[in-house]
Symmetry: C2
Subunit: 138 residues, 2 copies
DNA sequence: AATAAGTGATTAGCATGCTAACCATATCGT
DNA sequence: ACGATATGGTTAGCATGCTAATCACTTATT
């Protein structure tokens, strides 16, 4: 069954991608997932934790833990919102800003490797099919 | 850049797939990854831990922990190899066998959802492109 | 035969990621 | 104005998954 093969391929790609990412990120002293949070912050600095939770597709406690860890690393800092004392707003530190570019290089390297040898036509088809899958699973 | 979009789509699919799996597996009182180990065991009962580590693409300590947990759940058991007293051979218990089918139903459901609305031609192309990617990343 | 090198598995420690339960603050309804 | 409800975060506890260091047993080497 071709469907089974596709599922297995996707599983395979997911795990290999994760392993490969984590190996590269380790050289930046980061764990997988932290890169996503940091780069999201570069786009939306000062975002709240619950917004981060939506953006990164993970639960509030996960964000709370990650944010605490990254704060200890000195890559981000938190500030209580002035209007609503419940919310934490999260910001990149200077050190946090400095690590964004290396992260994006990792992403670039990864995606170059992954898509090596694909024609622009194949890329278009791939994008269309992946978009469909992403929509199906939502 | 289309390459960036494809990488983002893949990330998106990976996380959503993982979340969706874990939700379904929770109803079987399993965590993600455990399903892979159990079904691998159904195919190769009595396999060693280091072999499991290769098959599942994860490190020996990870397997050691998973195996310990699943043994506590009563789904698998270990037996020391007679010829080589270092190796553990891992087997499914009756309870372990019983959970295979529900797991495979979860996989089936997931893959049906993921590939919904795709023509057999699209499936063929998708398989080809994913195979290429899987090869690239290895 | 005794020691060195190699291999299978484990332990400790860290981080993501989850659920369930909880705390703190805001807002709504009466 | 006050009690109920909703919302943003946190804590505790579990599991996967990793590395580094270690233990246990085998196999080579001398």
């Amino acid at each position: 069954m071709i469907e089974v093969e596709i599922r297995e391929l996707l599983d395979d790609i997911s795990t290999k991608k994760r392993r490969s990412y984590s190996e590269m990120l380790r050289q930046l002293s980061l764990h997988t997932g932290q890169d996503q949070l940091l780069c999201r912050l570069r786009k939306e600095d000062g975002i709240t934790q619950s917004q981060l939770s939506e953006r990164l597709n993970c639960e509030p406690p996960t964000i709370a833990n990650m944010v605490k860890t990254l704060e200890n690393y000195g890559l981000i800092y938190r500030k209580r919102d002035l209007l609503d004392a419940r919310v934490n707003r999260v910001f990149l530190t200077a050190k946090g800003h400095d690590i964004i570019e290396p992260i994006e290089q990792v992403w670039q390297k990864q995606q170059d490797k992954l898509l090596e040898g694909m024609s622009s036509e194949e890329l278009l088809i791939l994008k269309r099919l992946l978009t469909k899958m992403a929509g199906n699973i939502s």
